[in-house]
Amino acid sequence: MTKQSRDAIAELAGVAENPDEYIAQWKRDKNRKVVGLMPMNFPAEIAHAAGALPVVIQQKRTPITIGNNRLTEFHCGYTRSVADQAAKKELGLYDGFMLADHCIQLLGASDIIRDESPEVPMYFGQLISSMGDPWSREQILKKMMSFVREIENFTGRMIHESDLQNSIQLFNENRRLLRQIFDARRAGDVTFKPSELQAFVKSSMVMDKQEHSALLRQVLETAAARPSGAGLIKLHISGHFCHAPKTELLELIEDCGAIIVDDDLFHGTRYISTDIGESKAPIEALADWYLDRNVAAPCPTRVQHDVDWDRYLLNLVAESGAEGLVVLMAKFCEPHMLYYPELRKALNARGIPHVLIETEHEGIPVETIRTRIEAMLERIRRKEPSAA
């Protein structure tokens, strides 16, 4: 890997590590507004089209202190961290907040932001989560139009169709570049460490897309393919919505003698799964994107009878040749807790070894996790001779 590639990786990792520094610099340079977005489905393209910087608000690693007086300890780590950041007045870089997802915990955290800074605009346009009803698409279209209106009001700038088309193209291109990296990994090229992959996606949620894509191109141009190591067990990492799993955890999993070949994490392939059609009217294309996305990467926060997260996972596993699966569940994440038994049933039916690991904001019980991962890897190894 050349120095140019290494530098680009370091820059992306720096933004992933400290989004606030990037955001502050961007504001100084551009003198434009920054919109804080709640995960996972807000169409950031619309904010971009109005000249704002859309940023998916990230969980911080700092210990939760005042936030504990705002949300209970049995909310997911992401919402607790956001509540803590709001209470500590650490969200001051954002000129407004937008959200589209109806997760009751997410709304709880958003209400805390609203309570802490009532003067900062916030808009919740609830995207229908029942995807297959006859009225779903019309509802989604209405919401997309309301996002355009709200962002126009917020930035004071009209959004023209050409602005949206331009933003859609830039975002699609960024997703394509990222997918190139993830697709290569699925095909056996492990050039990048899991922590680097996470940094690529996380920084994409924060940075100006053109800038991000330029750095990604630098990374890609000079990085040489590295095939996955022999003797390592191939694993798929699944789940973990809204916030990134700790990179130490991903490293710990690989340290046990495994290699992560694929994932469906929000800070992974889920975020980049779906492009927005460039040949139709942008609002229509955005509505279809929201619908298509749940087919491309089914999410348990949505309800769609003919789309199965479990079936999708089995397909991914078959494609990547993963020999086992680690379900990473953000502790207290209700949609994940509800869907997990369906995954378990499907994986068991196919004889795919898997382990459930719940993550918390506060830290990683390293030894317990190591023991559980090693036990699973051992099970996989024991199976190997008969499988061969």
Partner: protein, 450 residues
């Protein structure tokens, strides 16, 4: 005298609600025998869409209500165990976990019946007596878990049972005109849900194969509206009166009736009796808690395992828990919205008025309003472990009541249907601390007046 008796002697429970318990058992017994009678059974959660089912000649089983009943009767364990074996994590909403456990048991029972194997499941176990559904209706407001829970139940039954979703938008309050029962957001949401209810009727028609009986729906809503008016009238009688003639625990005993029992003259008679008994108590100055010294507000969904324990605990400390979010801001609570000739919009609006379907601004308004109206000294927050919908706004509500009204609060940990989360000792010490702080405030107030 034993402590139990001493506490019992402090409390005068409403005779009318005690008398109404039989209506609940009769309702459930009816559900359990639905199959034998050849009736179609619909499962639903959340909103009270039961008047539609009743009008369509169906039997209806409300998931949360059944989980609550199991927990109140200490019969929840077999269902929760079945859920756990199926893979549900203990931190999942315990209503959902219990009900999904019932789904697993009901499905097993159904399969065994079809394969001719009988007796594998102990039919005496209440959890397994719930008949499997012919179809589902999902109409869950506020909490995102509600919709996902039904979708998963649909999957537990192998996607073979039809399901209909009513999407209920959260009343977030984006615009300055937004507020309780007002603003464009409220009007738009009311229209949106009304339109879906007409589609629900079409779906029900397709399930029953019969035209929907609109007259029956109008009749049902006439009974419900009257029952609700009586309930609200009775509640209002507790506002200005100290000692209060009825407590929160009395209102808890009326939830099943107003929320899912059949709409009928019997329902109206039941609430008439409740209203009359309270009126009589007001006249004769009969207190619900004989030595009422403190009036508290209860926030949180009920802890069904511990209703009796909690009622005794507060009475022991001369506390009258007078009202609460779950009892007073839910369950057909705005009967004036119901037009009995054309009930759809009023029904839609009530489905939107679930007490966890409001942004915190509206919840602050409702809580502080009730604290003033009912002469409240402090708020008890049931920090409900597996119900984030209720617990999310609680800290902000406590902060607001303190800042706006100077009212102190306390939190205690428990859960809707899983008693392992209940922390009794903490409740005791925090309650004592809060009552002391109320005493101090009063003493200061008296000194200031003096």
């Amino acid at each position: 005298m034993s402590i139990e008796n001493a506490v019992a002697n402090k409390t005068t429970r409403l005779a009318s609600t005690d008398a109404g318990r039989g209506m609940i058992s009769a309702y459930w017994e009816n559900i359990f025998t639905a199959r034998e009678r050849g009736s179609q059974v619909v499962w639903y959660n959340g909103s009270a869409v039961n008047p539609f089912f009743q009008a369509a000649g169906l039997e209806w089983a409300h998931g949360e209500a059944f989980s609550a009943r199991l927990a109140a009767q200490k019969l929840e364990k077999p269902a929760q165990l079945a859920g756990k074996e199926y893979g549900y994590v203990d931190e999942l909403c315990s209503y959902a976990r219990t009900h999904l456990g019932c789904a697993v048991l009901a499905k097993n029972a159904q399969e065994q019946a079809q394969s001719g194997v009988v007796g594998l499941i102990d039919q005496k176990e209440l959890a397994s007596r719930l008949p499997a559904p012919d179809f589902f209706v999902n109409a869950y407001a506020g909490c995102s878990t509600g919709q996902q829970w039904d979708e998963i139940t649909y999957r537990v039954f192998g996607k073979e049972v039809p399901i209909f979703n009513v999407s209920l938008p959260f009343l977030w309050g984006n615009k300055p005109d937004a507020g309780y029962l007002r603003g464009q957001e409220w009007e738009d949401a009311s229209d949106y849900v009304s339109a879906q209810l007409y589609k629900l009727v079409e779906f029900i028609e397709s399930m029953t194969g019969r035209p929907f009986d609109w007259d029956a729906l109008r009749q049902n809503m006439t009974y419900i509206k009257r029952a609700s008016e009586l309930r609200r009238e009775a509640m209002a009688m507790c506002k200005a009166v100290a000692p209060t003639p009825a407590t929160y625990w009395d209102w808890i005993a009326t939830i099943a009736h107003i929320n899912f029992l059949p709409a009928s003259q019997a329902l109206v008679d039941y609430f008439t009796a409740v209203r009359d008994e309270i009126a009589m108590r007001v006249d004769q100055r009969i207190p619900a808690i004989k030595s009422e010294r403190y009036r508290l507000y209860f926030d949180g969904i009920m802890n069904w395992n511990k209703v009796g324990v909690l009622a005794r605990k507060f009475a022991e400390h001369d506390v009258a828990v007078v009202c609460g979010r779950y009892t007073h801001n839910a369950f057909w609570q705005e009967p004036h919205l119901i037009n009995t000739d054309d009930p759809i919009r009023g029904m839609a609006q009530h489905y939107l008025l679930c007490p966890s379907n409001h942004g915190v601004q509206t919840l602050k308004y409702l809580t502080n309003r009730d604290c003033v109206d009912y002469g409240i000294d402090g708020i008890v927050f049931h920090s409900t472990r597996t119900c984030r919908a209720f617990s999310s706004p609680q800290r902000l509500l406590a902060k607001s009541a303190h800042e706006v009204l100077g009212i102190p609060s306390m939190f205690f940990e428990g859960d809707i249907a899983d008693e392992s989360f209940y922390k009794g000792e903490l409740l005791e010490s925090r309650l004592e601390a809060m009552l002391e702080s109320i005493d101090v405030r009063r003493a200061r107030g008296q000194l200031a007046i003096a």
